[in-house]
């Protein structure tokens, strides 16, 4: 499969110098065309920072301290998003990579009609487009996400949370981007609405063919909706594999811990265990593998040596990677 977004050795810090907190460390990740890539981890594992970093939306004091984000446009040569000029970056945003943010309730400006907020993005990216066709396009997008186009003149406070998030999804797709990043898009919604919106999103993805980076702490949602899953811990990717593989046969003890912290809908009954301890403090990361203080299987190299992400020696090793001393690698990724 051909890649659409390649993240290479991305490092994101908060603050500068010695007191900087390394929120994302040496992340290598490839998003392929048309796939749904899930990104899971506890709070503070760096998943949202990764998403903000690759679109250069980090608010100060967040800084990208190294790495590349290579974007492959549909036509033309790939380029590094991190090297774009301000104007080129503005043109890149939303047109190539759109984002649906966590705060379904606060993503829309309360004082503007949703029609204004849908059309201003068209105005910014295609100033020559007529007012009439902008409105028509906005109406079309609302219809696409299942909102009656006569709600165009509604203000955000007149819509329910689910409708607002649908408006945001419609807005994300309005320029037909190649990549849509979903940062906990349904966290603020109830379970029924979550399922409905994600189902709709997957259907739209099949129709329009964009790729999705789906960030959530809810691994059960990822297992159901994504093709591949990457698990983050302490700012690093610790395991990456096809969704079904992660679900059936996770290699990293942390992935297993995440999986055993929610009940399965179908299949045999398992005991829920969860993960003992709490997520590491990014400012004082444990030495070696940052998971070792909480890991039930930690052994002699773990506290001193950082395991690299690489292909494990298992039979299906070519399609997955893991960073764990239980599965030492000969082929590092990245």
């Amino acid at each position: 499969m051909e890649p659409v977004l390649e993240i290479r050795n991305l490092n994101v810090d908060y603050g500068l110098g010695d007191r900087a907190v390394h929120a994302v460390r040496d992340v290598n990740l490839t998003l392929h065309r048309g796939e749904v890539l899930g990104l899971a981890g506890e709070s503070g594992s760096g998943k949202s920072t990764l998403a903000y970093g690759l679109t250069r939306l980090l608010a100060p004091p967040g800084v990208i301290s190294g790495g590349e984000v290579i974007y492959h446009p549909e036509q033309g040569d790939p380029y590094d998003v991190l090297g774009l000029s301000d104007n080129a970056l503005r043109a890149f945003r939303w047109a190539e990579t759109a984002i649906v943010f966590q705060g379904a309730m606060n993503s829309l400006n309360p004082v503007h009609k949703i029609s204004t907020q849908l059309t201003d993005v068209l105005k910014a990216h295609d100033p020559k487009m007529s007012d009439h066709s902008r409105k028509a396009r906005a109406r079309e997008m609302l219809k696409l996400v299942g909102i009656s186009p006569d709600r165009m003149d509604a203000y955000p406070h007149q819509l329910s949370g689910g409708m607002r998030q649908r408006v945001m999804i419609g807005m994300a797709l309005i320029l037909q981007p190649q990549v849509v990043i979903m940062d906990e898009p349904t966290t603020a919604l109830d379970v029924v609405m979550q399922r409905q919106i994600l189902g709709q999103l997957i259907e739209l993805r099949e129709r329009l063919g964009f790729s999705v980076v789906f960030i959530t702490h809810d691994l059960s949602l990822l297992v159901e909706f994504s093709n591949r899953i990457a698990i983050m811990y302490g700012g690093r990717i610790v395991e990456e594999a096809p969704a079904a593989t992660i679900y059936r046969d996770a290699l990293h003890p942390y992935s297993r811990g995440l999986l055993s912290s929610f009940p399965a809908l179908r299949g045999a009954r398992r005991e829920l265990t969860g993960i003992p301890g709490s997520p590491p403090d990014l400012a004082g990361m444990p030495s070696g593998c940052s998971f070792h203080p909480r890991c039930p299987k930690a052994f002699e190299p773990c506290p001193t040596h950082i395991p690299v992400l690489g292909r494990p020696g298992t039979p299906d090793g070519a399609a997955r990677s893991v960073a764990c001393w239980l599965h030492p690698t000969e082929q590092p990724v990245g």
Binding site: A91, F92, F101, S107, L108, H112, V121, Y155
Partner: protein, 326 residues
């Protein structure tokens, strides 16, 4: 529309309550104007003179408070605010309409300019947080905590004098007759410069601070990040997303400050002996001039109420969330 009518009804009620208080409060103050005249003449007035003074001021008949109250309303509707004791026999309405333009022009224009400058600087300082504009803040904090009149006294002390361009008191050169001509207008402008600057400097800081703080608060809202992510121009995000939302609390502050134009800068007018309403009020207070005080308080009350109404309406217009039946 229903909301609108409710507001109007509320303001009419408030106006009634304020006018009623306005009627009673001066009558609760001990002493009366004749007493203060007697004090002025240090007992050199005969009993007949005192009696005739009571007759002259219309304080002779023993009407009850209630009858006076009814009369007060009747006269109010005829635009008759009574005769001033201090500037006898000028009617109060005449004195107020002479003084009002001075206050409204000086303080009104200054307030508007101060709001515009302060808000724009505040937007800039809030949006470019961490740049040189942050250096403004300690200065603005200092000036916003300095009282107007103190600044006025300092300005008079430092900037006026026999050879100075700035006159130290009055609203125009006393050798001139008020008229719209080439002599009077420049003189009036020259006289208004120092009081205007005093008010401007001490009030602009408040606008800068409040607007900057609102900008900083709004800048961390999710919809601002979304606006950036949408690839909108920096200008559009700053103006249409950040400043537009940050402006809302400042708008009501502005409308309220318009209401306080008449009464709020009283001390500046006193310091500069500026012929506005505040200066007149000082004289009325000194002479226990009920009709004049009541007239001035009436003007202040009405202007505050109207400003509040304007703030309500502006909010309806600017913030869709306040429109109940939108």
């Amino acid at each position: 529309m229903k909301y609108f009518l409710q507001r109007i009804a509320f303001y009419l009620f408030t106006a009634w309550a304020a006018i009623t208080l306005n009627f009673f409060i001066p009558r609760l103050v001990p002493g009366d104007p004749v007493q203060s005249l007697i004090a002025k003449f240090r007992g050199q007035l005969s009993t007949e003179a005192i009696n005739s003074l009571y007759v002259l001021f219309g304080l002779d008949d023993d009407k009850g408070l209630w009858a006076q109250y009814i009369d007060y309303w009747k006269q109010l509707f005829q635009g008759d605010l009574g005769l001033s004791f201090t500037f006898f026999p000028s009617p109060v309405s005449q004195i107020i309409s002479d003084a009002l333009p001075w206050t409204v022009l000086l303080v009104g224009i200054t307030t508007v300019i101060s709001f515009l400058i302060g808000t724009s600087l505040g937007v800039l300082a809030g949006w470019r947080r961490g740049s040189w504009t942050d250096g403004l803040l300690p200065v603005t904090t200092f000036f916003s905590s300095v009282p107007y009149f103190w600044l006025g006294i300092i300005a008079i002390y430092l900037l006026t004098g026999p050879d100075s361009f700035f006159p130290s008191s009055g609203g125009f050169d006393s050798a001139l007759i008020p008229a719209w001509d080439q002599y009077f207008i420049p003189s009036a402008l020259q006289h208004s410069l120092l009081p205007a600057l005093t008010i401007l400097i001490s009030s602009v800081s408040g606008w800068i601070l409040s607007m900057r703080n609102m900008m900083v608060t709004v800048s961390s809202e999710d919809y601002i990040t979304v606006a950036h992510a949408k690839g909108l121009s920096e200008r559009r995000v700053a103006v249409s997303y950040a400043a537009r939302n940050a402006l809302l609390p400042n708008i009501s502050g502005f409308a309220l400050s318009l209401g306080f134009i008449v009464g709020g800068t009283l001390l500046v007018e006193i310091v500069f002996s500026y012929p506005g309403l505040g200066f007149i009020l000082l004289q009325a207070l000194g002479a226990k001039d009920y009709p004049l005080m009541q007239g001035i308080f009436l003007v202040i009350t009405i202007s505050v109420l109207v400003a509040n109404l304007v703030a309500d309406l502006a909010y309806l217009l600017l913030d869709p969330r306040t429109r109940k039946d939108g």
